[in-house]
Symmetry: C2
Subunit: 384 residues, 2 copies
């Protein structure tokens, strides 16, 4: 028997674990049962807390996945660009928030959308309101984006006088409606424990509630909108808040796993990658699966910087991430996987490994489509 | 006068510096004069040194850019995937090396290609040769990939006995031709000086030359192929080597700039990004341009970790990167730019800034097309 036969046999065996999926290059695979469970769990939690659930769709960027949300009563969504808003409007989403500082150069595209749907956009300065006013000619709803300490975008929560001027500017234009205050507490991602995440969320929640209390005598129906998957997953109290916009929870990932927002069995996507080289002397192998498939986002895992965890796919799905196997390096198309000898010796050239991504939003963005565990191709929007 | 008018005037002024390019969202702009100069310089250097010039096309992934190479006598190319080989074969490239460990699961696609063009692929084990032999049914040329110390892929340069077995396996199959030894000295990227890069390249060159000397008595016409833009840009001696496969030099980027492989005026691409928020109190602004446009690749610049340098576009092109302005943070679509107050005060909402990428290969991969400085859309291949 040629050495090749052994290896091919093993390859065919692996293929039988792929449930009819035809995979010969890096492929973003989605476990739709996990995704639906993630959606159901979050939708129920939001409903139980009396919140408007406006999930962020930048994570999946897919009509198909968005329709699963509809089954759980979701009718509003969040996106991160005007183009992505147009993509979801095409599939019947009629109430969309673009959670990104309004880009005045896309006023024409916003006008097109605002003529068809309820379009909600973000401002954080009088100058931005005036610029938009000179270019917007359809009804839009404006949130004031508030920075509660993440220092990315938004007006700092203490600048109450400036906020009053922004509201005055908003209501002075006929096409503009003032909706409320919106914040993304992205600094939850840099916290070291679930307790710290909840504490930070609670502080931000109080800062927004103070604003609502301050402006409510003058403006009714102020909506407070908050985001972020770590807080939405871990917090139990949402008092004072009207709306939540988590996105990542639909897939979760290693970053969320390390924050404690999810378990490994909640992770809904993995990149299936062929094994193309094995180096027992280095305790490493090379997969076809690099930065252009996974993204260069890394995270610290057991004191190591990693780009992914690795499992053997089974006939049920992704399998369990191996304890001591890491994607330790990425080139454009190469992924270097480090693993102990007793795992490495089970693997043959042509096998398929599942890689759990560090940041599923960026990984999903890189891929033109998803493949279900049943082998169905699921289309998605692609940036640009 | 409303504040808006000032800002709009400034925006129009910026638009006049865009030479008729219509840019309202992040756009990968290419300076074709710089690109052609980069190609001309490298082609001349390779020719002067009597080398086969087989540029790596994974950087630009574009038929249009590839055709510029043809003007300078280039007829062979390198790619990093079977799909990319198919893309360039479509445009008449008839001699293509896939500089990636041959993926046995794509044997069918390789057979299709090999029936039409001269296809060169990489192996580094007897097992791989045998696996390919059982699936390949058209003539292909095989290089043995040699690892001279980068520890990514390839057989370690000292394993000469194993290489002899690989060659024996190759020549025992009717469709296979043994071409020679190929190496990517990617460790040049982690060197701290131009001198160290050249030294490392020279060491790798000697290691490959030793292999040629060892195997030449038995096999004639052994080709030694080396890669990497830092060495191709900085080395002056290529004795013993037959072929070079640099790729990145077509665009260069900040990584190459910091290695000394190029000057800032050689950088051929920049991502043009709208300014969407300005925060004078933080000395920061936010651009529409994030990880999905630039990639999360970072580099150290003046003791800071940065994702890009920034300039004001001019009517001539990208302009000069500002000395003290950095892309200091990236979310999915947000870019945070830090700059001193005296630069920040020149910028208005709706302005366009040019961002020089850290790693142009990954940045180009993320974008569906390029835009020339004359506003012409240039199509490209996209992973998947």
């Amino acid at each position: 028997m040629l050495p090749a036969d052994d290896a091919l046999f093993n390859t065919f065996d692996v293929e039988s674990n792929l449930n009819g999926m035809k995979i010969n290059k890096p492929t973003l695979v989605v476990d739709l049962d996990r995704v639906e469970a993630n959606i159901r769990r979050m939708a129920t939690k939001m409903q139980d807390n009396g919140l408007i659930f406006r999930p962020h769709f930048k994570t999946h960027q897919s009509h198909f996945i968005a329709r699963i949300f509809r089954k759980y009563g979701v009718e509003k969504c969040t996106v991160s660009s005007v183009s992505m808003a147009a993509y979801f409007a095409q599939d019947g989403w009629t109430d969309i928030t673009i959670a990104f500082p309004a880009n005045v150069l896309e006023a024409e595209e916003m006008n097109d959308l605002a003529a068809r749907i309820q379009l909600n956009i973000l401002v954080d300065s009088v100058e931005k309101v005036n610029l938009l006013a000179s270019r917007i000619s359809a009804s839009v709803t404006l949130f004031i984006e508030v920075d509660t300490g993440y220092f990315r975008s938004g007006i700092f929560h203490e600048n109450v006088d400036e906020m009053a001027k922004i509201i005055d500017a908003i209501i002075s234009f006929r096409y503009f409606t003032f909706a409320g205050f919106l914040s993304h507490t992205g600094n939850t991602y840099s916290q070291s424990s679930a307790q710290n995440i909840v504490q930070l969320f609670d502080e931000s929640r109080r800062k927004l509630s103070d604003l609502k209390r301050h402006f409510s005598p003058k403006y009714s129906d102020i909506v407070l909108s908050m985001g972020d998957t770590p807080a939405a997953s871990l917090a139990e109290k949402f008092d004072g808040i009207d709306e939540m916009r988590p996105g990542n929870f639909v897939f979760y990932d290693l970053m969320q796993l390390s924050l404690g927002s999810c378990r490994d069995t909640n992770i809904g996507v993995a990149v299936y990658c062929p094994v193309v080289a094995i180096y027992p002397e280095r305790n490493e192998l090379v997969i076809y699966g690099g930065a252009v498939h996974l993204s260069k986002e890394k995270t610290t895992w057991k004191q190591r910087e990693i780009y992914g965890l690795v499992s053997f796919p089974t006939s049920d799905g992704f399998g369990i991430p191996m304890k001591e196997a890491f994607v330790s390096g990425l080139s454009q198309e190469h992924g270097i996987v480090s693993m102990p000898a007793h795992e490495l010796e089970k693997i043959k050239l042509g096998d398929i490994l599942a890689v759990f991504p560090v940041h599923s939003c960026l990984t999903a963005d890189l891929n033109s489509h998803l493949l279900s565990l049943d082998g169905d191709r699921i289309e998605k929007y692609r940036t640009y």
